[in-house]
Amino acid sequence: MAEVKAITRKEEEVRQLIKAEIPWEPVGPTPMPEIPDLRSWDMRLLKTYKPWYAPFCDLCCLCTYGKCDLTENRRGACGLDIATQQARIILLACLMGCSAHAGHAGHILEFLIERHGPDKKIDMGTFIELEAPNIRTVTGLKPETLGDLKAVIEYVYKEITHLLDSTHMGQEGSYLDYESKALHASMLDHVGMEVADIAQIVGFNYPTSVAETPMIEMGWGAVDKSKPVILLVGHNPATSCTLIDYLRDNDLYDKVEVCGICCTALETTRYSDRAKIVGPLSRQLFFVRTGIADVILTDEQCIRTDIPIEASKAGSALIATLDKAMYGLEDATDWDTEEIVKQMVEDKKHFAILDPEKAAEVAAKVAIKIAPQKRKEWITEEEATELAKKCTNCDMCERVCPNLFSIGDGITEVAKGNFDLIKEQFNLCIGCGKCEEECPKQVPIFKIMQVAASKETWKIRAGRGPIMDTEIRNVGAPLTLGTIPGVIAFVGCSNYPDIEDVADMVDEFARRKYIIVLSGCAAMVAGMKKDADGKTVYEKYSPDFDAGGVVNVGSCVANSHISGAGIKIANIFASLPLRANYEVIADYILNRVGACGVAWGAMSQKAASIGTGCNRLGIPVILGPHSSKYRRLYLSRKEEDDWRVMDARKREIVDTGEPSPEHLAYVCETKEKAMVTIPKLCIRKNDTPQGRSIKLNHYISLYKKYMGGGLPEDLHLFVRRSADIPLVYKKEVMAHLKEIDWQPKEPVGLPTLIGTYPTKVPIDAVIH
């Protein structure tokens, strides 16, 4: 029996922080939730979607009691078992990811408050009233100014500290609780990302409330190397946008080429459509080694740690602009500008300059001075063939390749004058440089790759930030009914099995009228393939958040707009209050919004936290094959698990037997398998018969296309009544169902997990 308690000082303080008195919605049960507050939701998720652990190592090496051997049910010297250790590492990874975005958010917010003051209004444009779905849902605050965002990010800082605390040797002893904490950290990641992107949109005046953002030139060939070239690497636009301003103000923008790799590129092109995108992280080392950049500006995250060495080798000047990554460089922030320029040009020194204005000015001046001294020639096929002849096809490069292929085979072909294989392989290459490092013959593999790497240029639509409320209103009904078969989000890093996979998947599903959203490196590579007409998916499909639309939301931090779109559907379309009402919203999305994330090239800790944050919100995520190295998935077993839900209308628990969505975090080995898994993970218990038959139509037709015919083995689990069966396959499906003695079931009126586990949320709360 629950006891009635007086409001505590702490609750009072939270109410103040979130301005509880402003009555835009009633304050829900979990304002600024702490570790225990959403734990029962997590435990419910983890009951169906059990953690699947693939230890990367037999040991724990995290304290001086160790190393501890954790094989064969052994426990560490602190009592820990192998599953708990995996979960602890996952929590650490999610915290590293979450703190990367929170650190970014905190920094950019500080920078923009410096510029605009804390009272700068948050205005996301005409069509976006629900400006901050994650922040509102998680914290209960409706942020109105940059200053409000600060209260939010401080809440994130605090939770990060408490969560990190729990990874200390000898505390948490349950993998389930570590998973709950990882889910908490990752939910906070979406909050941090949202803070960052809202601040950037407001502070840099990025376009917002518009779908048709400019087309940006992309590809290393798009960089005009006849001009001085400044390369931006990383995630934080403070310096890059300041640089654009500097060039504009000093009439230099015609004379200097600005290009970027990773998310800073995406950010910068939201600020200036004349900046170029070189490509994703996997092109970083390749491009740096070409020496085309005269000056490299690094900020934070996804920067190679050897960039000072590589820059020096390539004759490029380097400026580290953020304290996160200073590379041991001298901090020249307080130096005289001309003195820095002089030492950079004459002594070829690299510096850290933490003042964006100074960094921008120095970068421009140095680039203009250095450029004329640099020769920027691409290798010819003849030269490449000559260089390739050193290769003995010894296998060493294959043995160290994280993508497990033999660039040595490609090099061997080049030596014969055949460039076909290496061109294919360039698409597999994640650009890590291990092969060249290991090569006993010092074959200059990256240089040779220049002939393989297409100098072609592509178009990508500039990131546009949040989905508009108006769009949500349009698609809400078809999506929850299932007649738009799903929203598919392609996100994350560039550790691809094949870089072209993403474009292929986007094309397949956009054609089938799914809604496609993209961010980060995935948004880039989706544009790096052309169809027969020479068009990329950005040119081929509409930019609207609607059936068959292809929407680039922006950089990594714009991932918050993808989770945000799910929340908006629950709020705007289904009229569920979201304020501090996370559990209800997540339950709605899990059971009723056919959305699926695809992090095909997931590599970093941020990818771990972004994905895990989607999971807590009820959005399943598909990962590429290497992602089993994250050590943990969330899998159900469709035939063994409990698929009962509450029918909120009838108030009774119904055994649906329907594994929808089947998994929360899943690895597919091949693109083909992903093509079949994506439509399945878009199925929801809420689908109308019409919606379900559309979804099953895609599932079956994709299955036939990629799995060689027949019907999916688990099809019967998703057919409730014959009305669910797509017309074209009616006969085949009916015959199959009869064979296996399938029995029809009643669809659930209003499916929810609320009521199936101990929670303070009443069933009424899910009814809109």
């Binding site: 693939a54 190592c57 051997d69 599953a83 080995e669």
Partner: protein, 183 residues
């Protein structure tokens, strides 16, 4: 391996328990034939790799046939099998079949009880190794074996890193012969 584990375990370099390396096809055949309910898990690399023009998937099917081992087709392997006129006993992804195998009470693909020997063949080596890790740590009730031309530390039994494809080919042919003999 065990000779290389330091006396004091805290000084272990990394990893305590790693696969027995087996180069002799007859030893493999014995292990397979001793198993009561083996399972052959086929990965998509079998559709790409060939030895002297013969796709690896064909070797895999010969092995399955010779020892009457049920098949699990992962990823999009089923398509090719259909083409070859073979209906796999089960279709699961690598992570799914491993997830099922973890459960000692699982009925197995033949509904005759969980398997006691699981043979991996043709899975991307990183995913394969991670999948084997799951079973090594969480499925003490079964043994694992690999047929790819790489050493897999997390398996119970693994082939060595064959330097030459001929060695691999010889091993596989030998294995098939041995299994046939054993029938």
């Amino acid at each position: 391996m065990s000779a290389l584990i330091p006396f004091h375990r805290v000084n272990v370099l990394t990893g305590i328990k790693s696969a027995r390396l087996i180069e002799d096809a007859s030893e493999y055949a014995d292990l397979i034939q001793k198993a009561k309910r083996p399972l052959l898990v086929l990965g998509p690399r079998l559709l790409e790799w060939a030895l002297d023009g013969k796709l690896l998937i064909e070797y895999a099917l010969e092995i399955a046939k010779a020892a009457n081992i049920p098949i699990c087709a992962t990823a999009h392997v089923k398509g090719k099998l259909t083409e070859l006129g073979v209906k796999p006993d089960s279709v699961y992804d690598a992570v799914e079949i491993v997830n099922a195998l973890k459960d000692p009470d699982w009925k197995g693909v033949k509904r005759a009880g969980n398997h006691d020997l699981v043979i991996f063949f043709g899975i991307r080596s990183d995913l394969g190794e991670q999948s084997l890790s799951v079973l090594k740590h969480f499925a003490p009730h079964l043994k694992t074996m690999t047929l790819c031309k790489f050493y897999y530390p997390h398996a119970n039994y693994s082939l060595p890193n064959f330097r030459k494809d001929e060695q691999w080919k010889a091993f596989l042919e030998n294995l098939i012969d041995n299994l046939k003999k054993g029938e």
